[in-house]
């Protein structure tokens, strides 16, 4: 066994540390320790690398490491709490650029290599480049050095598609020819694609984009690993790449968005405008996705109706409320005077479930606060949240005051199906942009949500 094998063993250990690190980062109690573990892994991988007999020029190395360490450290220590997310974006961009440079350097060292390596270099540069400029734009948007509003112009989508296709073509050329010009073109265009891709995305979505680009920079690292046939690069890069994708999806869910919507939503935003959406379609949502939104909510209002009584869901509703409170959210119950089928119907049920009187709000008390509510949970209520009562003079319930659920950021409506309420009316709320239906018996739906919370 020569030094290589020892280095490889060290890499295995480092990989294991990364695995534990990522796993532990996902749990509140262990996160800090996980971060420490993964940093130890990083140190190990770096030190091990120094033992390669090809590594000779320590002076330059040490200089580079020192400069990088000092800059990184100072930034990280100096940054204010509020500035952290953009800093992470910047760091991430540097990581991507570093991968790009590693790929490029390899090209400079070994002009003649096999197809696989060429492909790997191509991937490294492409992904690294997009990561770098994409992250940089994200940084600018978050730091307020650039407007957070989506930057849009006509034909944007098409231009991006063309750039992407050219990049694919250039890839073919490069792998076939191994020519320097194609490589430089790839570098330039991938940098451009990063800029173009992130420009149309709004500032509010930047955290998701950073998570996504972070996953990208992981993949760039993994690709670089294939360039230089290095295990730890492959493992760590791939771990970050895939876990980053999962994280991206989770973050989208917490915003009640799909990833596609985040990535390309900006384009849509240009066209849509504030259409009133009287028609449209009811959009369902899975219990799991609803969980992510609830988990992130700070202010939740339950609006129970006759359906809660039918489902006898009061006990589980109470339990979910307790859970949300433990999770840091403010929870209230908005009771409409005619909810249910007898005066005080909801009171009977919620008292049975021991919901504290303080959490019960009358309609008039809750309505002015409704627009600060993150999630309105409409539990088998229908007529009492029907905006037609306020909007539509032709409706038989026009003039009845309702609980303004539709003003909440997100509305989840729990119903078994498309059944109407006591008054037999269609409910426009269910068609609104911010409303999502969760079909099924309310008790079972809530139980399932609780299950999500507990797992």
């Amino acid at each position: 066994m020569d030094e290589k094998q020892y280095i490889d063993l060290a890499y295995i250990v480092a990989s294991i540390l990364f695995i534990f690190g990522i796993k532990m980062l996902g749990k509140a109690e262990t996160a800090r320790k996980g971060n420490l573990l993964s940093s130890v892994g990083m140190l190990l991988a770096m030190v091990a690398t120094l033992f390669y007999k090809e590594v000779i020029d320590y002076k330059l190395l040490i200089a580079g490491v020192a400069v990088g360490t000092i800059i990184g450290w100072i930034w990280a220590v100096k940054v204010k709490m509020t500035g952290m997310p953009e800093l992470v974006a910047l760091f991430n961009g540097f990581g991507g650029l570093a991968s790009l440079l590693v790929g490029w350097a390899e090209f400079e060292f070994h002009k003649n290599t096999d197809t696989v390596t060429l492909f790997a270099i191509y991937s490294t540069i492409l992904i690294g480049g997009i990561t770098f400029t994409g992250s940089f734009i994200a940084y600018l948007k978050l730091a307020g050095k650039m407007s957070g509003r989506p930057t849009l112009f006509p034909g944007q989508k098409a231009i991006n598609a063309v750039i992407f296709l050219i990049l694919l073509g250039l890839g073919g050329v490069y792998i076939f020819q191994n020519s320097a010009w194609s490589l430089y073109a790839i570098i330039a265009l991938s940098l451009l694609l990063g800029v173009m891709g992130v420009l149309p995305i709004g500032g509010g979505d930047m955290p998701v984009i950073i998570a996504f680009l972070n996953s990208f920079s992981g993949l760039a690292g993994a690709a670089a690993g294939f360039v230089i046939l290095n295990k730890v690069l492959i493992v760590a890069g791939c771990l970050v790449g895939t876990s980053g994708i999962i994280l991206t999806i989770i973050m989208c869910k917490a915003m009640n968005r799909t990833f596609g919507n985040v990535l390309f939503g900006g384009f849509g935003a240009a066209g849509g405008g504030g259409s009133k959406g009287v028609e449209g379609e009811m959009k369902g949502v899975s219990v799991e996705d609803a969980y992510y939104v609830l988990e992130a909510a700070q202010n939740v209002v339950f609006i129970p109706g006759y359906g809660m009584a039918v489902a006898q869901a009061q006990h589980v509703v109470k339990e979910l409320a307790v859970m949300l409170e433990k999770n840091g959210a403010e929870v209230r119950f908005a009771i409409h005077p005619v909810a249910g089928r007898m005066p005080g119907h909801m009171n009977v049920l919620l008292a049975e479930a021991d919901v504290p009187y303080e959490q019960l709000c009358e309609m008039d008390a809750i309505n002015p606060m409704m627009n600060q509510v993150d999630v309105a949970m409409v539990i088998g209520a229908n007529d009492v949240v029907n905006p037609a009562a306020a909007d539509d003079p032709s409706s038989p319930i026009y003039g009845m005051p309702i609980i303004k659920a539709y003003e909440a950021r997100t509305v989840f409506a729990l119903k078994r199906g498309k059944g109407s309420g006591f008054s037999g009316l269609e409910n426009a709320l269910f068609f609104r942009e911010n409303c999502r239906m969760i079909y099924g018996d309310a008790k079972e739906t809530i139980s399932a949500l609780i299950a999500q919370f507990k797992s």
Partner: protein
């Protein structure tokens, strides 16, 4: 051929890591989204290993200087990433108490 075998094995390693990556993150509380992102961002600085190799070689090729730049950038990513993450998690803990 041996090289190809190694490549395939590396590919195997890549596949398994991908599965592990998917399995590891299952449900993350929303407060941890940012730290997790930042922490794994630090890990993605693993490209430092490649940078070190590129920078540390003997010949004073242009690639060496690319490597040097890569070392600096990757190092910022690594050090900055870990420190920022730790700070975030530190505050998180204090708040919890």
């Amino acid at each position: 051929m041996e090289n190809l075998e190694i490549l395939i094995l590396l590919f195997f390693v890549f596949t398994l890591s991908a599965f592990l990556g998917f399995e590891l993150i299952q449900k993350v509380p929303s407060q941890l989204h940012t730290p997790l992102m930042s922490g794994s961002n630090a890990i993605s600085g693993i490209t430092i290993v490649g940078a070190l190799l590129a920078c540390g070689v003997a010949d004073a090729n242009f690639g060496k200087w690319l490597g040097f730049a890569a070392v600096v950038l990757a190092m910022i990513n690594v050090v900055g990433g870990y420190v920022v993450t730790d700070r975030m998690l530190g505050m998180f803990k204090k708040k919890g108490k």
